[in-house]
C-alpha cells in the first residue's frame, strides 16, 4: 500500500546546500593534514604487513582437519559436514582403518577428504556439526590457486593446515 513519507523541514542554510559541502570538505582536509603530519596511519602494506596477530580466537578462516595428541586423525568420515555444507564444498570418500592399525577400535577414517575452497563460504557449520571435533576453521584466509583444481584442499593439505589439537573429547579411549 502506498504511504506518504514526510519530507524533512529544512532550514534556510540547509536549503542553500553549499555550506554543508564546505563542512564536509573541512573534515576531509583535517584528516589529510593529520596524515601528512604522520599523526594517523591507516594503510597496511599487505602482504608485507599483516593483521594476523590481531585476529581473534573465533576468526573463521579456511576449514582444516586436526589430529589428536596421539597423532590419530580425529575424523571418522561420518559425513555430517558433507551433509550440512550449504554450498556443497565438502566431498568425503569413507574408508575403514586396517585391523592392525593402532587405532583399529575406531574402525573408520576418511579415504579421501576434499574441500573445494572455491565453493567454501566460511560459514563454520562443518565445525559446529562435527561430532568428533575433527574439523576447525583456522586463521588461513589467503587461499589462492591458478586453477579450479588448485583450489581443492585434499586430505593431506587439510591436516597440514590443521595440525594437532590436544585435549578434546576422548570418546575412543579403550577404557570407556
Amino acid at each position: 500500500m502506498a504511504y506518504t513519507v514526510r519530507r524533512p523541514n529544512l532550514t534556510f542554510w540547509e536549503k542553500l546546500y553549499l555550506p554543508n559541502i564546505v563542512a564536509g570538505l573541512a573534515i576531509t582536509f583535517n584528516h589529510l593534514k593529520k596524515m601528512l603530519k604522520g599523526e594517523t596511519k591507516v594503510v597496511m602494506q599487505y602482504p608485507e604487513e599483516k593483521w594476523d596477530a590481531q585476529l581473534p580466537e573465533y576468526y573463521r578462516g579456511a576449514p582444516t582437519l586436526v589430529t589428536d595428541e596421539h597423532g590419530r586423525e580425529r575424523c571418522v568420515s561420518c559425513q555430517l559436514c558433507e551433509f550440512i555444507c550449504p554450498p556443497r564444498a565438502i566431498k568425503i570418500t569413507p574408508g575403514s582403518l586396517p585391523t592392525d592399525s593402532k587405532f583399529a577400535k575406531v574402525e573408520k577414517a576418511p579415504q579421501a577428504f576434499d574441500i573445494d575452497m572455491s565453493r567454501c563460504i566460511y560459514c563454520g557449520l562443518c565445525e559446529e556439526v562435527c561430532p568428533e571435533q575433527a574439523i576447525y576453521l583456522r586463521k588461513d584466509y589467503a587461499v589462492t590457486g591458478e586453477s579450479r583444481a588448485d583450489m581443492v584442499h585434499h586430505k593431506a593439505k587439510l591436516y597440514e593446515l590443521g595440525g594437532s589439537m590436544p585435549g578434546l573429547v576422548h570418546k575412543w579411549n579403550p577404557d570407556k
Binding site: P94, E107, E132, K176
Partner: protein, 546 residues
C-alpha cells in the same frame, strides 16, 4: 472371505474402535494411529516378547458376579485396569479390552527400558552404518532420556565379527531382540544363530561349526533394528541419508522381488527389499541384491560401434538397418530380460524387417524353495504374451542355429543376449553376414558383431515386466546409463524409424499406450496404473517354486 472374522470392541486411549479377532494389540494401536515402539516384534516372525519396549497399560471389563460386564454411564463397559504393564506384541485384542499407550506409567516404562538398552551401548553413531535408520536413535529421541546415569565401566563385547561372508556383527550395539535368530530359523530354514553367555555379557553368535552363509543372510541386516548386523558389502560405503531410494523390481529371476535401489549421484550403493506380500514378502536373496555391480564393470559398452569402430548413434542406427536389410533371411534372438515395452517394439521391428523366426534364451536353475523359482529370466511371461517366443522358450533356438549352419539364415538381430549362450560357436558367428546386437556388457557376440549398440541396465530404465505368476510390475530409473549407452526402447524406436516404419513413439508412455492398443491383455492400462506393488495381469495359479 468364506469365514467371517468377528469384530471386537477395544478402547484405545479412551476411544472405542473395532478390530478383527486375532489382531495383535501392537498392530491394533498402530492402526488407530498410536504407534508403539518395538525392537523384537516383527509381523513376519514369531513373537518372543523379549525387548519389553512395547509395554502398555491394559485393562479388561469389570464383571458382575453373574459374569456380565458392568456398564458405565455412557453405556460402554467399565474397564478394570491391570496395575502393571503388559507387552502389546504378544497380546491379541479381546472384547471390551482397554489400552492406554500414553499414560504416565507407559511413558515411565519406555524411559526405563530405553535407559537399560543404552547402558552398554558404545554410542558410536558417527561410524555406525545404521545411523539414520536406527530404532535406538529414533526411540531414544522420542521416548528416552537425554543423559546417561551410568557411571560404571561399560561391558566390552566383540566388534567387527564376521558372522558369514556377507554379514558383520558388532555385538556392543546389539539389543538382543533375536529377530535375526528367528529369521534364520523360521524363514531361511538355516538355524545357525543363537545367544551365548549370560546377563550383560549375552551376545549373538553362530553355531560353532557353521557360519551365516545362507543366501538370505543379508535380510537379517535389514530387520536388525540397530547397527549390530551390518552388510559387509555396504559397510562404510555411504551414509544412508544420502541415498535416493527408487522403487523398482529385481530382475534376477522370474519372481521379480520388489526392491528399493539406494543411489547417490549416479552410483548405486545398495539394494534392499521392499514389502510386497503378494510377491516376496519382506525378503530378497543375497545373490540378487548384490548383483548390481556389473552396471559399472570394466567391460561395459559405452559407445556404439560399427565394424568395431566407435561411431555416433545416428550412424550406428542407420548402418544397422542398412546391413540388416541387405543381409537376406533374418532371425531375431530377443531376451526374456527385456521389458514388455522393449519386447513389443522388438516385435514391431521384426515385422518391419521381415524377420521369419524369433525366440528368447531360457534360463533355468534349481528352485530354492523359498523365493528363487526355476525360471531365472524376469520376463518369460511377457515374452510369451508378446510373441517373442513360443509356449516353450528356447524351442526355436535350435532351428535358428540349424538355419545359420545350413546357410538359410544369414543375419541375426540379437537383443541383450550373448549368442554363445544360445549354443552358437565362434565359427557360426563368423558365418553370419550381419550381426546387430544390443548389450550392456561386452561379450563374444558384441566382439563379432557388425553393429554393437550399448543398452541400459535394470536400474537405468523404466518399463514393465510380468513375473511367473502373471503379475505386471514396474521398473523405475534410479541412475543414468553410463557413457553413451541409451535406454533400449529408444534404440528400438530409432531402429524402427530407420527401417521405414512411421511412428510417433517419443516416450516410454507412448510405447506403453501403443502396446495397450495392440495387445488386449494391456488394454486400459498405463505405467502409472501398475502402481508400486504391481497388479495381477494374467491369472496363473502357479506357485513360486513351480
Amino acid at each position: 472371505m468364506s469365514t467371517e472374522v468377528p469384530l471386537l470392541n477395544v478402547q484405545i486411549d479412551g476411544v472405542w474402535l473395532q478390530f478383527p479377532k486375532g489382531t495383535k494389540v501392537i498392530d491394533a494401536c498402530q492402526q488407530a494411529g498410536k504407534f508403539i515402539p518395538r525392537y523384537c516384534y516383527h509381523p513376519k516372525l514369531s513373537i518372543p516378547g523379549n525387548c519389553r519396549m512395547c509395554l502398555i497399560e491394559m485393562g479388561m471389563p469389570k464383571m458382575t458376579p453373574d459374569r456380565k460386564p458392568v456398564l458405565g454411564p455412557d453405556g460402554k463397559p467399565e474397564i478394570g485396569w491391570i496395575p502393571r504393564p503388559q507387552i502389546s506384541c504378544a497380546q491379541d485384542v479381546a472384547e471390551g479390552m482397554g489400552v492406554r499407550t500414553d499414560s504416565p506409567m507407559v511413558k515411565e516404562c519406555r524411559q526405563g527400558v530405553m535407559e537399560f538398552l543404552l547402558i552398554n551401548h558404545p554410542l558410536d553413531c558417527p561410524i555406525c552404518d545404521q545411523a539414520g535408520e536406527c530404532r535406538l536413535q529414533e526411540f531414544s529421541v522420542e521416548y528416552g532420556n537425554a543423559h546417561s546415569r551410568f557411571l560404571e565401566r561399560k561391558v566390552k563385547k566383540p566388534k567387527n565379527v564376521e558372522l558369514g561372508p556377507r554379514v558383520t556383527l558388532d555385538a556392543e550395539r546389539c539389543v538382543l531382540c533375536s529377530r535375526c535368530i528367528r529369521f534364520m530359523k523360521e524363514v531361511a530354514n538355516d538355524d545357525v544363530l543363537g545367544f551365548v553367555d549370560r546377563g550383560g555379557f549375552s551376545t549373538i553368535a553362530c553355531h560353532p561349526d557353521k557360519t551365516l552363509e545362507s543366501n538370505y543372510s543379508l535380510n537379517t541386516v535389514d530387520i536388525c533394528p540397530v547397527g549390530a548386523l551390518t552388510s559387509t558389502d555396504f559397510r562404510f560405503k555411504m551414509r544412508v541419508w544420502f541415498l535416493k531410494e527408487t522403487k523398482s523390481i529385481d530382475v534376477n529371476d522370474g519372481l521379480g522381488c520388489n526392491i528399493l535401489i539406494g543411489s547417490r549421484e549416479g552410483q548405486i550403493y545398495r539394494i534392499t527389499p521392499r514389502e510386497n506380500n503378494d510377491v516376496n514378502g519382506n525378503w530378497i536373496p543375497d545373490s540378487h541384491r548384490l548383483n548390481f555391480k556389473y552396471l559399472r564393470a570394466e567391460e561395459r559398452l559405452l559407445q556404439p560401434t560399427v565394424e568395431g569402430k566407435q561411431t555416433s548413434w545416428s550412424d550406428a542406427v542407420s548402418a544397422a538397418v542398412t546391413k540388416l536389410k541387405s543381409a537376406g533371411k533374418l532371425a531375431l534372438v530377443a531376451s526374456a530380460r527385456l521389458t514388455n515395452e522393449e519386447l513389443y517394439l522388438a516385435k514391431r521391428l521384426a515385422t518391419a524387417l521381415n524377420v521369419t523366426i524369433q525366440d528368447v534364451l531360457p534360463r533355468t536353475g534349481e528352485p530354492d524353495g523359498i523365493l528363487i523359482p526355476a525360471d531365472r529370466n524376469p520376463n518369460t511371461s511377457g515374452a510369451r504374451l508378446l510373441g517373442a517366443t513360443g509356449e516353450t522358450p528356447g524351442a526355436r533356438l535350435k532351428d535358428i542355429l540349424a538355419g545359420v549352419r545350413n546357410g538359410s539364415i544369414t543375419g541375426i538381430l540379437c537383443l541383450g543376449e550373448d549368442l554363445l549362450d544360445c549354443g552358437f560357436t565362434h565359427d557360426d558367428l563368423a558365418k553370419l553376414k550381419v550381426i546387430v546386437v544390443t548389450s550392456i556388457l561386452a561379450n563374444p557376440t558384441t566382439a563379432a558383431a557388425h553393429v554393437a549398440l550399448p543398452g541400459a541396465g535394470f536400474a537405468e530404465k523404466r518399463g514393465s515386466m510380468i513375473n511367473i505368476r502373471g503379475r505386471l510390475q514396474r521398473l523405475n530409473k534410479a541412475v543414468e546409463p553410463l557413457g553413451e549407452a541409451r535406454d533400449d526402447w529408444e534404440i528400438l524406436t530409432d531402429l524402427l524409424a530407420a527401417a521405414g516404419c512411421v511412428h510417433s513413439l517419443h516416450s516410454i508412455e507412448d510405447v506403453f499406450r501403443a502396446m495397450s492398443q495392440d495387445v488386449p491383455e494391456f488394454a486400459g492400462l498405463n505405467l502409472g496404473k501398475i502402481g508400486d506393488l504391481g497388479l495381477q495381469l494374467l491369472n496363473k495359479p502357479e506357485t513360486v517354486t513351480a
